[in-house]
């Protein structure tokens, strides 16, 4: 089946898988967004417990998706793994720290003899929610704005200093956060995560005061989201991009590259526009219709479509998805950074499991979320975060 595909088709297939995992990850960042709203939506201890437990039943999905996203990137495009993680050391370490402190926070927060106190773990959740989303968004933005690194595969033959990829900035990737364009995506992801979490709370929590505050908060977060998202998108469409000449593999700057990609890939353009409309529809309908609680599905699905299309813009249509502004020819493309044909074929068979995984996730999700979370449930439930 997959054996009959060309090497390029396999590389494109795996970029689609990475894009799908990345876009599902952004949707699942609603957990992180919600963690930054515990004190603004929950004014009493019971209300905060309801919110924490609503998120706590889903945090592992986000965590697992992040880990799988990393693993899939490693398996399919190992040169990215080697170059980005080994170079932008501090950015990735900071992101990992944010997720380490999150993983224990839910389980430890309300347990007796928790030596650091409930508040400490709530601070951990806030740091993960705020810094984790902004840094992830900023890191992904470098797919369009570039980073300072060089790659030379011949280095492996050198007795002294055989490292093939090196970061050419002394700040270990932290310099990306000083780029306004990168930051605009980081902040857009942050506000989007908050919006998604509000829609999730509206969908899964049954508590009048929380819902009233949630609607107000939705309005407050939509405006900065739109501002930062539009800033990122408009800037993206007018900036020069990193084009690849397919026969030679030579990378060069191309004005309006991402706008060209959008025009030359109408399916991606449709996906992007439809996704954006769905995101706005979910928010608008929730704001304007009393008692409406299904906004999360429209905005969530829209988010997946928009992020997926952004990944497509970065990697397809002869574009370098991880460009180097230090040495253009070191830029990574889906062709020069991928695994071997054999590995991609083998992994493609494994990818057939994804629909089954999605199916049992949906089944289990529905089983647990059949009834909305209430204050009474928090008192009767034996396992409470």
């Amino acid at each position: 089946m997959f054996e009959s595909l060309s090497y390029l088709a396999l590389q494109q297939y795996w970029w689609a898988i990475i894009s799908l995992l990345g876009s599902i990850l952004v949707f699942l960042l609603f957990v992180q967004g919600g963690q930054t709203l515990l004190y603004s939506l929950g004014k009493t201890e019971t209300e905060r417990t309801i919110l924490v437990n609503a998120l706590g039943r889903k945090w592992e999905f986000t965590f697992t998706t992040l880990v799988t996203f990393g693993g899939a990137f490693f398996a399919s495009f190992p040169l990215f793994y080697s170059t980005s993680f080994g170079g932008a050391y501090w950015v990735w370490i900071a992101i990992l720290f944010c997720f380490v402190i999150q993983a224990v926070a839910y389980e430890f927060r309300s347990k007796p003899n928790n030596i650091f106190g409930r508040r400490t773990f709530e601070v951990f959740l806030f740091i993960n929610g705020a810094l984790g989303t902004i840094l992830l968004g900023t890191a992904v933005a470098t797919f369009f704005t570039g980073s300072r690194f060089s790659v030379n595969l011949s280095n492996i033959t050198r007795f002294s200093d055989p490292v093939i990829s090196r970061w050419e900035s002394p700040y270990g990737g932290l310099e990306a956060a000083l780029n306004i364009h990168n930051l605009s995506l980081g902040l857009a992801v942050f506000f989007l995560a908050r919006i998604l979490s509000i829609l999730y709370f509206i969908n899964s929590v049954d508590h009048e005061d929380i819902l009233i505050r949630a609607k107000k908060s939705l309005r407050r977060n939509t405006i900065p989201f739109l501002l930062t998202f539009l800033t990122f998108v408009i800037w993206l469409l007018i900036r020069k991009g990193f084009a690849v000449d397919p026969p030679s593999g030579i990378v060069s700057y191309e004005p309006f590259k991402y706008l060209h990609n959008l025009i030359q890939m109408p399916l991606v353009a449709s996906l992007f526009l439809a996704g954006t409309l769905l995101v706005l529809y979910g928010i608008g309908k929730t704001l304007l219709t009393a008692g409406y609680s299904k906004g999360i599905w429209f905005t969530g699905f829209g988010t997946v479509m928009v992020v997926f299309s952004l990944f497509c813009l970065a990697g397809y249509n002869n574009t370098a998805y991880y460009p180097s502004v230090h040495d253009l020819q070191s830029s990574l493309t889906i062709v020069n950074s991928s695994s071997s044909r054999y590995t991609l074929v083998s992994m493609s068979y494994v990818s057939l499991l994804v629909p089954f995984v999605l199916a049992y996730i949906v089944y289990a999700w529905r089983s647990i979320n059949r009834n909305k979370i209430t204050a009474a449930e928090m008192q009767n439930e034996t396992h409470v975060y």
Binding site: E60, T64, Y81, F85, F97
Partner: protein, 517 residues
């Protein structure tokens, strides 16, 4: 040696990986074993309908949850550290090593994370059977996750099913099934997961012993001991069997590690197995070889030869034979391997150079060498030796490997005996009177963790300096980052993980004191 790679960077990077891996491994074995023990208990509850068993299941599930969370927290670092700290490694073997990591995520992590939510929150939301299925799926998910990461680790110890592609300057997978079903991987998987099962059984038995001594939770304690002891005993037997299999393979795939764990410096025919030994310095010791003499030794004659080759008079190579070579037994000196590795590296450099200057004839000629079995078996297989500048670099820390191995093995047999004694005590209904045994079980919990950590020290420290056996040493695998950054993150992880472990222990002890109420 490496002018541009700071040796302290390599050491700090190794230190950071060891620190994070050892912290992670504090929590993983309990997750592996306790998940099955809980699933067994819940099965009894569903089959008998007795509420007491539900109460027992929920009690252990609470402890499981506390341990699981911190296991997850410490685990995410490891996956990404292959990139952050070992970037050259990530490219050189990422084509093979990345696949198990991705499969682990898709197959196992989602299974665990999806059904763990049902396991904790589904008691009143889903049917009994669906809940029980979820609990079993969490247990299988945990062991499935272990399978893939252990396959990846086994491949580092015994790289099979691949070839070197000179164009991409990396190793590429040729046979997925050979990677998955390599004998080293199979033994490693069985040995590692059963070690987790035994640790979890001892954890349950130890805590229940405390309850019995305190005359509390007697029903829970006796029933839990029964389940854990039977599960632990079966696992112990599999643990010992797979450990024996691992050792037999070791002498073939990692003979230096085998020599190190036995403290065998000079090869012998009819070599004896050191049952107990104390290593100390002697005037004639060569410090550069990590070689120390035994000041005290109890040996089982000829048994090492038998363990390694199934023959009592077989020759087992020692550290010195492996470094200096031994003509009689066809052992090549490391200095020779270094020359061969250097030639393989220079051939690759010439190939790159021919390609860059457009010399297609020379390029084709050199490229063909990397497909020539003679070149692969006699030169490229020693590629990693080309990065060494002293033959003694291939010797791991012998005392550390020796003691770790003997602690692990000794404790392994002790655990088996302890579990048998508990089952006898239960059978005769005299457990409450056996205070010494109960106290011993409590003190055995930390010993189980010690044995578990010692096992990984044998596996990882015993194979130094190799990241990929014979192909890539640590100093050629590291990322191009400054040592100070790694020092800072080392201490950050050390402080953070220590703080979290302290919190975890505090919460765990409290939950045990609270009991099943």
């Amino acid at each position: 040696m490496f002018e541009n790679i700071d040796p302290s960077l390599v050491n700090w990077s190794r230190g950071q990986f060891a620190l994070t891996a050892m912290y992670h491994w504090i929590f993983v074995p309990l997750t592996l074993g306790l998940s099955f023990i809980i699933a067994l208990m819940e099965t009894i509850y569903v089959r008998t309908g007795k509420e007491e068993w539900k109460k027992i299941t929920k009690f252990w599930m609470t402890l499981f949850g506390i341990n699981f969370a911190i296991g997850v927290a410490t685990g995410i670092i490891l996956e990404f550290e292959f990139g952050t700290n070992w970037s050259n490694y990530s490219w050189f073997v990422g084509d093979i090593f990345g696949a198990p990591l991705a499969i682990e995520g898709i197959m196992a992590f989602f299974l665990e994370s999806t059904f763990i939510a049902v396991m904790f929150f589904g008691w009143n939301k889903v049917s009994k059977k669906f809940h029980l299925t979820s609990t079993w799926l969490v247990a299988f998910g945990a062991s499935l996750s272990a399978l893939w990461i252990l396959v990846a680790n086994a491949w580092m110890q015994d790289p099979v099913g691949m070839h070197f592609n000179p164009d991409t300057a990396r190793n590429e997978m040729l046979d997925f099934w050979q990677v998955l079903f390599s004998p080293v991987a199979i033994h490693k998987f069985i040995h590692t997961i059963t070690s987790g099962y035994v640790l979890a059984s001892l954890f349950v038995v130890g805590i229940c012993s405390w309850y019995i001594l305190k005359k509390r939770e007697l029903f829970l304690a006796k029933r839990s001991i029964l389940v854990a002891s039977v599960f632990g005993l079966i696992s112990s037997l599999m643990l010992i069997y797979s450990g024996d299999g691992s050792a037999r393979q070791l002498v073939h795939v990692q003979p230096m590690k085998f020599a190190a764990i036995e403290g065998l410096y000079n090869g012998q025919t009819g070599a004896g197995l050191v049952a107990i030994g104390i290593i100390s310095s002697a005037p004639g010791d060569t410090n550069s070889r990590n070689v120390k003499d035994f000041s005290f030794l109890i040996e089982i004659p000829n048994f090492l030869s038998y363990m390694a080759y199934g023959e009592f008079d077989a020759f087992v190579p020692g550290v010195n034979d492996l470094v200096d070579g031994n003509l009689k037994y066809n052992l090549i000196p490391v200095s020779d391997k270094m020359e061969r590795g250097k030639l393989a590296r220079e051939t690759l450099a010439d190939l790159k150079s021919a390609r860059d200057r457009g010399d297609t004839a020379q390029y084709a000629l050199l490229n063909a060498r990397f497909r020539d079995p003679d070149f692969i078996n006699n030169f490229f297989r020693y590629f990693g030796y080309g990065f060494l500048d002293d033959p003694n670099q291939v010797i791991p820390n012998v005392p550390l490997a020796f003691y770790s191995f003997h602690i692990m093995v000794g404790l392994g047999f002790y655990f088996l005996l302890l579990l048998v004694l508990f089952l006898i005590g239960l059978y005769r209904n005299k457990l409450e009177n056996r205070k010494f045994l109960l106290r011993l079980a409590i003190f055995t919990i930390p010993l189980a963790y010690l044995a578990s950590q010692a096992g990984w020290i044998v596996a990882e420290m015993g194979r130094q300096p190799w990241v990929i056996q014979d192909l890539l040493p640590t100093m050629a695998a590291v990322s191009h980052i400054d040592a100070t950054s790694v020092q800072v993150t080392f201490w950050l992880f050390a402080v953070l993980f220590s703080a979290l472990l302290t919190a975890e222990l505090s919460i765990m002890f409290k939950q045990i004191k609270i009991g099943s109420k």
